[in-house]
Symmetry: C2
Subunit: 333 residues, 2 copies
């Protein structure tokens, strides 16, 4: 039989109310009494009923995490970063896969509110006004990851996707490449991913190269898109000398398509990917790619959120983390 709060009160020689005050960290208990209570708790191995306490304190020490899909190559490391920090501060995470489906996101937000999570990390490459409004309406303390709201009302953790893509494409043009292809996410969706195309365009202009529609292909951020993309691009253009892809999956699919056509990477075509997922460094050839600090995005966001739910000040609310171009074997040296 587990020890109850009554047993602790008896052992410490104080009232139940006093034990409760110690547990809830209300600062009206003198140090000596506090010590007695804590000793009794330790001796009896008492574990308070957190759920009952949650009702009183309106804190559950639980953070809701809304992500598109934990089984993608991108989110697991971010989630790991969040949970490691949560664990340090005695928080737990409630994980919700939204599939970027608006109705599912809304339902999860409502459920998280009902379950009285202390805060929410919202991860997505996009952000619908409806979601922002619901978060406001439910008064959920929220940090955005990978995306931000247009007015910077919500705290966020992102990287500069446009600048990262710009750097990657400049890296290709500075090697003397003239026909730089691009395979990425659909342009009509305004997302973190779509911004990568803007960086591509800008880099071409700054390299005195024209943007040639025939050299671009848009689809999902998947290997299949890369494979298809190469085939479509090479139907329209005789050759390319380099390729920037908005994800590593696309880059790997594209390299497989090039290989099937007898075109060598990097001898014939330089390829740069994006994200630095696990497979990037195992793939042959090892991918040169823009590394997103996925673990850090999760841990920085969680640290900020825990500060916010505890009404502590945060240095700045819009964190833009550094990215990094990792040179491996898919570009000529």
């Amino acid at each position: 039989m587990a020890a109850s709060i009554k047993d602790v009160a008896k052992e410490a020689g104080v009232s139940i109310a006093t034990v409760s005050r110690v547990l809830n960290d209300v600062d009206v208990v003198n140090e000596e009494t506090k010590k007695k209570v804590l000793d009794a708790i330790k001796k009896l191995g008492y574990r308070p009923n957190i759920v009952a306490r949650s009702l009183k304190t309106q804190r559950t020490k639980t953070i809701g995490i809304l992500i598109p899909d934990i089984s993608s190559q991108f989110y697991p490391e971010i989630v790991r970063g969040t949970e490691d920090v949560a664990n340090i501060y005695d928080y737990n995470i409630m994980l919700c896969n939204s599939d970027s489906d608006l109705e599912k996101e809304k339902e999860y937000l409502r459920v998280l509110k009902e379950k009285m999570v202390d805060g929410v990390l919202y991860m997505s490459s996009s952000l619908e006004p409806e979601i922002l409004n619901l978060i406001k309406q439910l008064e959920l303390t929220t940090v955005l990851v990978e995306t931000k709201d247009p007015e910077d009302i919500f705290p966020s953790v992102t990287i500069d996707n446009r600048a990262a893509a710009y750097d990657a494409v400049r890296y290709l043009t500075e090697k003397g490449n003239k026909k730089v292809a691009y395979i990425g996410a659909y342009r009509d969706v305004v997302t973190a991913w779509a911004k990568r195309y803007l960086g591509y365009e800008e880099a071409l202009k700054d390299s005195d190269l024209e943007v040639n529609e025939n050299l671009t292909f848009f689809g999902e951020l998947k290997a299949q898109t890369g494979y298809e993309g190469i085939n479509k691009i090479l139907e329209k253009e005789e050759s390319i000398d380099s390729l920037f892809c908005a994800s590593d999956e696309i880059a790997m699919g594209a390299i497989n398509a090039l290989r099937d056509k007898g075109i060598r990477v990097p001898e014939d075509v330089d390829v740069v990917g994006f994200n630095d997922i696990y497979a990037a460094s195992i793939f042959y050839p090892k991918l040169t790619t823009v590394s997103q600090p996925m673990y850090d995005m999760g841990s920085v966001a969680m640290r900020m959120l825990i500060k916010l739910v505890n009404n502590k000040e945060v240095d700045h609310k819009q964190y833009v983390l550094p990215y990094n171009l990792i040179e491996r074997d898919s570009c000529k040296k």
Copy 2:
């Protein structure tokens, strides 16, 4: 201002106690009254305080999930399977990364008990008696995934790792291979992974081949182990004609090591991996591998757990799911 239980009672023309009985699904409310209450709930958009209700019903509609590491290549898809099923039945998951650290596992189990989760999915390739005892002591309804207890006391979802490895190695020997190497997890740990070695030994014997220590290498289930393993094995033996690896990561590392030595896969060496992770079908050459039904392991386990926490019968408690040898391009046809 959100509607309260009082507002619902007023709207429906019943007492608060009646609304509460409807919410908690106690069967003493007549259908007509129940309908009135449900209509009022709908009309007012009332959402009950789940935390307060949890204390009363002793149910939180939350399941704790203990895994070694969400950022590995293996667990995300299992977790996705669990969450999809949880979502169907209005459960949420609380995700805990244990790093297979015994102390961390114990602490998480205690926290999950305190947070009154309805049940726990425990995932690990191993299982310490201490963990089993703690689960019993805390009276946590638990389903084991990927592992099982020696006495089959706990329900579990696994695959037959020994048989799967046996089949993979027989596949190699039936192609006429005589020098089948093995790179896998340390043998001294009794885990799901170590069983794969037993399948290897057995298959060699049944193929009238001798087990040659020089052809084996043990380490972690990582690409690095595969890379090192090939180098060590080829220091001792002049050549191998095939290789079975206890993980796809190992297989990919090994293939990279073979490539660096100018040895071709599959022309010179047939390679079979294990798990069928995402990268396996993108890698060059595409990996022939034993596919574990990761998503299904998660969804079957969650379905069983939800039945158990609702005191419903389950057909059988020890689920052994089918595996599948996927033939791709890392073995000769």
